[in-house]
Symmetry: D2
Subunit: 312 residues, 4 copies
């Protein structure tokens, strides 16, 4: 980050103005439609929220509207697994960029069932296996962890999305069985997938998302509760992996245009970590060809530029 | 970066002490031996240098000893091409991490001759083609550019390494011809490879390396001459690509343990950019299994930890 | 085939002598051990049987001993599916050689879920899906078909092998789910795999195997019952695909050394079709590195040489 | 083959009639256009010739018109290399089907520079290297071998095609350099490619093609001269490899529809071996999507059906 980010006298005004611009962009992209429940979302919704280390929360648009966080949930799963298993996590999933589509089965075959990183599907499924194997009720454990981070009990998984994911999850099942054939899945595959799909179907708002991840910008510590959520080392690690692998096959371009560790999901959400400053969460359902939200990308990119937030 | 790095009253002392530690590590790794000229280097040599934005240079060990910079040269080639061709560069090479070995021909085939980024061999060969096609004397242009950045005329390519590279460059020739079959090489392949091998055989010391790259830590400006070497945007871009793709198949791990944009070469050199602070250059010939210098990795990692330099 | 094969006054004596030779070969290869039930088979057992178009059956060794036919069962499944679905079969599985391991998931991905041929695992799983989707009781239908061909009711699936296959079938599950994700599996995956594993666990003797497949050497007609088992065209087709793809990754070498359409299984069985002459079935449990029985290969090769059976 | 092929009182009449049918087919396919010299061929030309073991030659259409034999030349190169190097050939090229495009570089990488068989480009380039390394004048040696087999001195390479191939041979150069990087090319790559492109540019007529390959249908012996061209074993071997790998990615389908060892070239020629009977050569320039001549395929298929020539 280039020195201390300028704290605009009115960050909220800036967010408001970016939101306006985003809403006036020519319509582009399309809503994820591989499951009906996602395809049904009103495509014009748009939101942005910034939570800072000093406990402030600035928002614009539909920032309290909940949406399906999908792959953004991989962050919570990973931190929970790191807390429980420690460095053993890295025996079963690497932390290198994948250079392949998020659901690639080819690379998994080449690397003998060890996923390249925890943010591609295969890696997140291995992490789900860790949680299933180490928690008696892994779904509840994950949900409680998210609620604690977001400071609210009002977070749930959407049951229709959850069931839909299961019915359309054949490729994820293929990834899981392939890893099991290599000995890298311990629990039964249906149970692992059940956790994985549950996790993907959690719904949160931009406000909740931003607040819940501030610990990653704060060396592992939640600034509201002052509780250590993970070690400083692990917060660094998550940010590092996000930087190379969080934005699907647009990660490299995002590193250049935004320069922040970030994770996107096909529900249209993006969470970007600004070390020592806070978290930006943005959302709008229409996706570009990489699976990243068009409007959320626009808002995050412009905000990072205007505040000089790039870490490079 | 976590706030302003601590400026140790005596950075030189710290470098000295890291160098001592590195020299006392149990011997590990081996010198690159794919060409005889590299294999003949005295393996115990070790050096570190730090050049800062305020024009200071701190060193320890063999910091004025020249060595073969090899893949570190890809940075200079890229900046020169960006300056000459502008954004057209990105029509012919992507900026995504590769997730494949640095010399992978498989990925190049899948992606129809467009390399994933300019720091894998295929990408650097495309950049070499750009220079060959746009400069009447591309080798001299590159050498002059490096000399200008390093502030000295005393930099040359090593002729024995250069000839050796040519004789052992069959895989690089395969990459080049494959790209030419896809229409992504304009000049004649032998001429492109000639430039590429020349570039790899340039010799520099850690002092020269550190000084020459400070502009990347300084938004494109050389602090000594105050000249703009490249645009602020392009400096960001290079740092971003280095962050995901500069350390071969150890880039992800390096992002975690060090958290800095960096490039390594099989000559044993590493250059790490610390945005808004300076450049660390380290060197020692023995390489780990990823092709990165064992001792240089150790010193850069420890220095980044002790000064809190990680960008994440 | 080079003219009419010599009919030795005593083919049985020749088989006897080949069997002796095979038993005296230095011990090589090892019994399939990926499931315990297969690993427990007495490894010294050896048998050969030849059934000819004129209804004769010549045997030597343990030719009435039943063994797990494994992949040889893919022939029966395919013929049954061709009879039921006609040329629609070839919309969902190709008939080209694979050039990849029998259980390759990489090729399946590249070819968008359409297996290269019905004798690699993925192809046989698609065929199993066809049977499951078109027969109310596909396992019984298959068993009855085999019994009819072999002219005996005394053929069963081995329940222990069947259960074992299920427990060790993760890679096959991965193949099946991947094909389902491409829309190339109609029934539920567990049901398809159930049929597939059942089929693999059928047990037959060399006598039964030889007799049951004579229709393929006789333009589709069973010489004992004079019933048309499949069309002449389909018999040709099966033989053609067996010629390029029946012997795993040793198919090309087998085409040269033996020159006959043939199928092997990891139970140690091999069935070779001699067009216009008959069928050779051979068995011995120890496998070479390609998964083909060492002794069965030896006997089939020598017999083909001595009788001049190669089709080339 | 199903018994002795019916010798039609007038095979020439049958060929005539097939030719008529072929000429009346709806126009389909397109002439190879990757090099201008091939694209310039008159697309309507069509020919068929059958040479039998008893020394007869039946023809129809433009059967004495010469055309670029292209990949059909791989047969001559292979036989010449087998004669010179014996079984050492098979240390450097396998005899398994490839299951990949004829010019695949991916498979070559996986298999560490050893091509799957001598009829894909990489395999033929290795064979060219053998010839270049073992003959002082490999191009003349090859041309003389072809002339001897065809019983005429009137065969030449086309110089324009030869030069054109060189200029458009970047992918073949990539294959060659990749193999050289694995140590599987002994001579200098440009010299090897020079031989390879020369070989591809040889021109022959259907009459010459048919006659020159009869030895493969006759256990290695030329029926006109009674000379052994290669061993019986090697004739079998060539036929076996042709059966699985001679018709590009349509080899499996061709095995079913025709059931003969055969080789095609992008000049529009096809040569099919009928063991113990003779050779069919057919030609017409328009190619289907696999690179095989539409009309030549049609005529060979119908002739094989009508004479019952399938080996299966």
């Amino acid at each position: 980050m280039e020195g201390t980010p300028k704290q605009p006298s009115n960050l909220s005004l800036l967010l408001q103005s970016l939101l306006q611009e985003a809403r006036q962009l020519p319509e582009q992209g399309k809503v994820a439609d591989y499951i009906p429940a996602l395809a049904a979302v009103a495509p014009e919704q748009t939101a942005i929220a910034v939570a800072t280390l000093d406990g402030e929360l600035h928002t614009a648009g539909d920032a309290s509207q909940c949406f399906s966080i999908q792959s953004v949930s991989k962050i919570y799963g990973l931190v929970l697994a790191m807390n429980r298993l420690g460095d053993d996590v890295w025996q079963r999933v690497h932390m290198e960029p994948s250079g392949q589509p998020f659901n690639s089965i080819v690379q998994l075959e080449w690397e003998h069932g060890i996923p390249r990183n925890p943010f591609i599907n295969a890696g997140a499924i291995v992490v789900a296996d860790m949680l299933v194997s180490h928690y008696s009720a892994s779904k509840a454990a994950l949900l409680n962890f998210i609620r604690k981070l977001a400071g609210t009990e009002q977070i749930w998984a959407d049951n229709i999305v959850y069931q839909s994911e299961k019915e359309h999850g054949n490729r994820n099942a293929a990834l899981a069985y392939l890893m099991k054939s290599f000995g890298n899945i311990e629990a039964e595959v249906p149970q692992v997938l059940d956790h994985y799909f549950y996790q993907c179907s959690v719904e949160m708002s931009c406000e909740q998302l931003a607040r819940s991840l501030v610990f990653l910008a704060n060396r592992g510590q939640d600034p509201w509760t002052e509780q250590m959520i993970c070690s400083r080392r692990d917060a660094h690690r998550v940010n590092a992996i996000l930087s190379t692998s969080g934005m699907y096959d647009q990660s490299g371009e995002f590193a250049f245009t935004v320069g922040l560790p970030a994770k996107s999901g096909v529900g249209g959400g993006i969470a970007a970590i600004v070390p020592n400053y806070g978290v930006i969460a943005a959302w709008s359902p229409r996706l570009n060809s990489f699976g990243n939200s068009c409007r959320a990308m626009f808002m995050v990119t412009r905000l990072a530029e205007q505040l000089g937030l790039s870490v490079y």
